[in-house]
Amino acid sequence: MLLAFSHSRRVLGGLAIVALVATACSGSGSTPTPPPATPTPAPATTVATPTPAASPTAAPITCGTAPVVLNAYFETGFDIPFKLSDEFTKQFPTVTWKISQDQFTNLTNSTPRLLASDTPPDLIRLPTMISLVKDGLLMNLDKYVTAFGWDKWPASELLQDRVAADGTRGSGSLYAAGLNYSMTGVFYNKKLAAQIGMTTPPTTVDEFEALLAKAKAAGLQPIMQWNASASGGGLAFPLQNLMAAYGPTQQINDWIFQKKGTTIDTATNLTAAQHLETWVKNGYFPKDVNAIEYTASNSRFTKGEGVFTFNGDWENASMDKNAPGNVGFFAFPSATAGGSLAAMSSPLTYGIAAKAKNADCAAFFLNWVATNTTARQINVAIGGSNPGGPSDLPVPPAAAGSVTNDSLAVGALVSKANGGMDFIANATGSIFAQGWTPELQKLVGGKETAAGMLKAVQAEYLKELSQ
């Protein structure tokens, strides 16, 4: 689900709207993900059980036995936090909620004021974090990391919610946590994939490229993707996948998190960009890709144009609805067989106000969301996204044959490999609109080389950081 691109809402605005629609559809669509099929623990028993991995030294952090009213700010249009809060109250009847909601853009503007007010939220959907942390408005969650054992979760899950003392993201203390984690990868048309002899997902980039060549030779459209300015350059998805296949995710994340002295113009990224350039030259993308918008790309893909498309699990519901049973999902392979998998992934970020009255209870809720079986089931059923949490907890199953099942399995693999990345489109406020999108379009139009593209984007990046 796209609100996970929290920091990129401005950048990926077009996508966000689509995702909103997609989410709305998933609630009322004709093929919704089914309600939990597995028996869930009876609420009564859960109440008594203090949740796992309590700190060995201090008393376990809970919501206590006295009545608590959690003051929360949720984002309008997304069901997940509401459904989770209902379930939480069912399991812990002493906790009730005072929920305010607002549009994401309004929240972006009002968050500092809300956090600084006399009745600061115990739990709030966070648009951005760095300035809030700098102003001391967000609670440092480090004590909960040790108390709940979040340090044993795959590190990449919480990476994007960490802010260092120098104000860069990606390391340092934890200031937020994700309600779930969206995941990107490659969707494929099962019928067309079978036609070109793909029986199992490719395990190396070479294998994937061989499939692209086969598709081209068979007269099929190998990849359906969007790259029009209105939606932003969707070729950034395969590009970043290629970057992570040929180089470490760390250097990509560092660049996104604006660590000093980092550059996108590295040797491995050049290799990645050159592969993308070859794909363009070989005609693996549609001839009119520079004019294809996000929604058009998805609709053309589900109508059978394109063997593959690069996108994220927020599209699961509409894929299952528009091409039922015919869409699969795999993680983009690594360069060498058995290499570690990586994917762009973003948490649905929630934080706690520095002055929150019920911080412990809010943190307990965040831990419950990631670890409670029913909560995880709700996350999968409503959002189609990975609920995160400890990697040894099973991810609840979705409907058999649904693409959500595929993407959840992929999510678990990527999570195990610690391969989560933020989006290169999120590095600065307008690096997507002013850097990646025009440069990727030029690459398609033959007006730019792979090397020139990386140099131009890096120059734009430095310019924006200096402005």
């Binding site: 300015s229 294809i292 609109a433 379009q441 139009g445 924006e464």
Partner: protein
Amino acid sequence: MNAADGSMPETMIDRPDPQTDRQRQSRRALPSRKARREHLLGWLFVLPALAVYAVFVLLPLALTVWYSLFRWDGFNVPVWVGLANYENVLTDPDLLNTIFNAFRLIFFFSFIPVTLGLVVASVIRRSATGSLGNVARTVLFLPQVIPLVAAGIVWSVVLSLSGILNQSLTAIGLEGVTRAWLGDFDTALAAVGLIGTWVLLGLCTVLLLTGMTKIDPALYEAARIDGAGAIQEFRAITVPGLRQEIGVCVTVTVIAALRSFDIVYVTTGGGPGLATMVPGLDIYVLAFQARAVGVASALAVVLIILILVLILPIQYLSREKGA
């Protein structure tokens, strides 16, 4: 920013104002105290509108100029940078490119609609006076009534790879030239420009047609008796007689070209590359995505100045000789 640069020329168009003359005359004829009271009363009547104008046009305009002197992200404390933002606007090749694109659009938004509008209006006037003329006028004016965003969406479909334009081209054997018109570096700006032509042709035609009713039919009659053909009539009577209307058309369409936003935003978003990026869109991107409020404001001020520099001579020329 847009409201500011859009409204200024309108006041200029309305400048030749007979009412002020009449007021001046009546004031001279009346006793001075009463005149003063009337004067005050006049200001009172104007005050609400003036207040709205001041708050929503003049103040933002002044603030835009003020912001353009700072480096500011919209939240934190602004940093005074003097004229550095202007230097940036006038030296950054990408930003200059957007300004050049706006000038290229003048050809499609202004030159074609005005020339073609003149021709079409003459044709309608000469040979389609009855209901046919009304139908033609309505059809041509229709784009003015349709919201630009809706029109832009429809045009994106028409100009897409599988759109009706390419289908037609294929049908007549021109498959070789088919392409995604809005996604191709060579054609995107022209494609966007032609949508502008489509929108503004009707406006120009109707304005010019109205102006033609003002021209004394005896002139045409005389010309015909002298044996003038349609082209000679057009050159000797129609065009000179429409000098003021042409001035208005050029003014309105040049402004539309320089401050274009909606058509570009909806159809190409400034792409591919920066092939169709125009100042209006860039100001938006800079201010609300890059959060570079200072540079965005500087670009807006430069745009206002460019529009004024271009429009004032047009105003002067069209009035001077029409008077």
